[in-house]
């Protein structure tokens, strides 16, 4: 296991290594995540899965608890430095999905992005079915900037894909609500 590089109150982030591939494959291909998360129903070969894991990635971390239990993965990808934005994604073991730990991990990732790169905005693409699971919290952190109507065929229906965004300025105002020391870490 590689060393932890970012500590939150509950979430501990460390670089992704080969030793994590099997556990992540199991997580991505477990129900219902295989349909509603980024694989969208397919089971790639092990080689394709590794390519998928690293496709357009800027930085990503495995999330563990303080006890070393595996929680999930947070990823920043499709960074566009000309225009100052990047996308984030997160996946969590169902046991931890409502615990708040993966949200803390996502917040640590967002803070890491704003601290290390001159990004103006961080985006997250979320299916409507997933967005409704955290709509209340998302109002305080993310704004819905776009909606692609009936964009993806998932679970027998066409679903909207929402584009959420948090700007650097808004993050400086609200990041502390998720336990991140924003004030001392980004300008």
């Amino acid at each position: 296991m590689s060393h932890c590089v970012i500590h939150g109150q509950y979430a501990h982030l460390r670089p992704l290594t080969q030793a994590d591939y099997g556990r992540l494959y199991d997580l991505y291909t477990s129900a219902p995540l295989i349909e509603t998360w980024r694989l969208r129903g397919v089971t790639p070969s092990p080689e394709e899965f590794v390519q998928f894991l690293w496709d357009a990635v800027l930085v990503q971390f495995v999330v563990d608890t303080g006890d070393g239990d595996f929680v999930g993965l947070v990823t920043a990808y499709k960074a566009n430095f000309r225009n100052g934005h990047a996308y984030i994604a997160a996946i969590a073991d169902p046991e931890y999905q409502r615990s708040g730990i993966v949200v803390e991990a996502t917040a640590l990732l967002v803070n890491y992005l704003f601290r290390n790169w001159e990004l103006r905005k961080v985006y997250a693409e979320v299916l409507e079915v997933n967005y409704t699971q955290f709509e209340m919290g998302s109002r305080t952190i993310f704004d819905v900037e776009g909606r692609l109507t009936e964009h993806e065929y998932v679970g027998g229906d066409y679903q909207d894909l929402l584009v959420l965004a948090v700007t650097r300025e808004k993050w400086k105002e609200v990041g502390h609500r998720l336990g991140v020391n924003v004030k001392d870490s980004i300008n």
């Binding site: 109150q9 931890y96 409502r98 955290f134 209340m136 998302s138 305080t140 609500r177 998720l178």
Partner: protein, 79 residues
């Protein structure tokens, strides 16, 4: 710090989370079903507790189901 008495604790915590409630809050009020907690709200709540010096053991984080659970562990673990 958050108040010790349950109703004051609940009112203070929910106000910090910008949550509005329509009915009375009891120890059995469920975070998810009745208060609309999602994972982001949960993370904000954990941050509020940490600001008061309370960090839950990892094994308990996913076990909180009612506001009474939160109050119980707050009283048990506060400095």
């Amino acid at each position: 710090m958050l108040p010790s008495e349950f109703s004051e604790f609940a009112d203070d915590l929910l106000a910090r989370l910008d949550l509005e409630t329509s009915g009375p809050i009891t120890a059995g009020t469920r975070l998810s079903d009745e208060l609309g907690f999602d994972s982001l709200t949960m993370a904000e709540m954990l941050s509020c507790l940490a600001d008061s010096g309370v960090v839950l053991p990892d094994a308990l984080v996913g076990e909180l189901s009612t506001i009474g659970d939160v109050h119980h562990y707050y009283l048990a673990l506060r400095p």
